[in-house]
């Protein structure tokens, strides 16, 4: 006969082991994740180098990877400074687009009328290629930073709007009942229930928006090549067929993109209460 000791009720009701999704994972990327793509990238560069050299490819069509790297380091100050301009446009647009979308989403989450009025327009903007508006924005906003930031803002706007609406509404109805049962104000319900519920959604949309804002910034810079930025550098250098400068600028853009995306992931781990991702709404 099996005679197991009867566990007492306290241990039966004890906590389950701390689930993995709640323990914060190590932020330091391990070698196992960094090394394989680096090796693959190196092999690709070597292959291109060999192809250009042995195949006698014209440098007007494809620069050697080594000359690209050389240009990148020799002219590093230029790529860095122009990169900062692009980054500023991208971040400015992201900040304005995200703030405006979050505010509108908060309104939409509270009012069906506002949703009906605003959402069709928002979807119209989404299906329109926003970059088509750049010439108009230049007419309206002049040749400075404004049209570039406006494009970056408009392009980041939609994913944030849709996710924020979903987040503000992802509220347990029983929880909402509890708030009502103590006569909590609409602001208290927003502050303590809707806003925290939306934070994971906002981070999910930021991951999409952050790269979109970079696209918007670069395309806008093509049109405003007098204003600088990596988009302008690419535009000017391709006119003179200096492809190693074009490639070096793209390399700098890749670095900026990786940095921005990583920053969002780090911020999410620091500030978001939920580490497993909710389903994004877009």
């Amino acid at each position: 006969m099996i005679s197991e000791p009867i566990p007492d009720l306290d241990t039966l009701d004890g906590p389950e082991p701390r689930s993995r999704r709640l323990s914060r994972p190590d932020l330091r990327p391990t070698l196992t994740w960094i090394l394989p793509p680096l090796v693959a990238l190196l092999l690709l560069a070597v292959a291109v180098e060999l192809w250009v050299r042995l195949g006698d490819v014209s440098i007007w069509l494809m620069p050697r990877p080594t000359t690209v790297i050389e240009s990148f380091f020799v002219d590093f100050g230029r790529y860095f400074n122009e990169g900062l301009k692009t980054l500023a446009v991208s971040l400015g647009g992201l900040a304005i687009g995200t703030a405006a979308a979050t505010l509108l989403a908060a309104g939409v989450a509270h009012s069906q009328m506002l949703e009906r009025a605003v959402l069709p327009i928002a979807i119209m903007v989404k299906v329109t290629p926003v970059v088509a508006l750049i010439p108009l924005f230049i007419i309206w906003l002049g040749h400075g930073w404004n049209p570039k930031i406006a494009i970056a803002a408009l392009i980041t706007y939609f994913p944030v709007l849709i996710n924020a609406i979903a987040g503000f509404r992802d509220v347990d109805p029983r929880m909402h009942d509890f708030f009502r049962s103590v006569n909590a104000s609409t602001w208290e319900i927003f502050r303590h229930l809707r806003w925290p519920a939306a934070v994971p959604y906002l981070f999910a949309s930021l991951k999409i928006s952050v790269t979109l804002s970079l696209i918007g910034a670069v395309v806008a810079e093509f049109f405003l090549s007098g204003q600088g930025g990596l988009g302008a550098v690419i535009w000017i250098e391709q006119n003179s067929l200096r492809l190693e400068q074009v490639f070096a600028s793209v390399l700098m853009l890749t670095i900026i993109g990786v940095t921005l995306s990583t920053a969002v992931v780090v911020a999410e781990r620091l500030f978001s209460w939920r580490l497993d991702q909710p389903v994004t709404a877009s």
């Binding site: 039966l12 906590p15 709640l22 029983r174 929880m175 009942d177 939920r274």
Partner: protein, 289 residues
């Protein structure tokens, strides 16, 4: 009030006060839904009911009979289609404004991003002008047996512990009326039987000597649970819900798990079961409220 005390702890031993303002008075309260096809659906038939101050009332009935609807009407969360609702002599909205309602649902419904202690604190934090209670969160955590888990997140707790957090959150505002909607239905049988006696220990503890003794309405579809907890069991018929029997429970307080084997307990459960089986012929006549 019979047991005034200046001490922080005022333990009320379930004194039902027949002369005090009733906790809840329903007069011909009914609820009718309009379905999508435009048909009328009666959820709750006209119901007249009085719940005295200090009384623990269980509401039993088959699923979908309108128990939860009735509780939501009393809580002021669902407006009735007709009739009058008075909670401590005033509309439920007033009871909400003065934070005199403590709600516990079938699901714990906790804020996932807050710790156990911060979840319990929530009711005190909201609508702060009405926070009179001097309830110490630490004390409450001790009472519900969650010492050591103050900083845990809800997802790190078992279902039973989460439900205790929900109970503590409801008790934190020291409400004179507790509304419990199948609070243990999602728990395993062992935890469930344990919680029956825990809730009875907790529901009488109040800090505010100016409030009437705490009343509670406990919705359940478990007959033994109703008889183990309540002073009085109200039996509802299948939809449209209507109270068909009002059965006093004879087991004396304080109650203990052993009482569930007593003749009184078995007899009371038999009466409730009979009323549930034949809802048209009340086993015990309804008291005229």
């Amino acid at each position: 009030m019979s047991s005034q005390s200046s001490r922080a702890h005022l333990v009320i031993k379930h004194p039902i006060e027949p002369d005090a303002e009733p906790a809840v008075r329903l007069n011909d309260v009914r609820l009718t839904y309009e379905t999508k096809e435009g048909k009328r659906l009666d959820a709750v038939d006209p119901t007249t009911l009085t719940i005295r101050a200090g009384e623990m009332t269980a509401l039993v009935g088959p699923s979908g009979c309108g128990k939860t609807s009735l509780l939501r009407i009393i809580a002021g969360l669902t407006p009735p289609s007709g009739g009058e609702v008075a909670v401590f002599g005033q509309p439920p909205k007033v009871a909400q404004q003065h934070k005199r309602l403590g709600l516990v649902f079938q699901e714990p419904a906790l804020l996932a991003w807050r710790s156990v202690a911060d979840n319990i604190r929530l009711g005190l934090q909201l609508n702060p002008r009405e926070t009179h209670s001097s309830t110490e969160i630490d004390e409450l955590i001790e009472m519900v047996g969650l010492r050591g888990f103050e900083r845990y997140r809800p997802a790190e707790l078992s279902g039973g512990m989460q439900q205790r957090v929900a109970l503590a959150r409801a008790l934190a505002i020291d409400p004179p009326l507790l509304l419990l909607d199948e609070p243990f239905a999602a728990l395993d049988e062992i935890t469930r039987e344990q919680m029956r006696y825990e809730v009875q220990r907790l529901w009488g503890i109040s800090h505010d000597p100016t409030e009437p003794p705490r009343s509670a309405i406990f919705v359940t579809h478990s007959v033994p649970e109703a008889v183990a907890i309540a002073d009085r069991v109200l039996v509802m018929s299948p939809r449209p819900g209507r109270i068909v029997a009002d059965i006093p429970v004879s087991t004396p307080r304080p109650r203990r798990p052993e009482h569930e084997h007593s003749d009184r307990f078995i007899n009371d459960t038999a009466i409730v079961r009979a009323a549930l089986r034949s809802p048209t012929t009340p086993a015990v006549p309804l008291d005229a409220a």
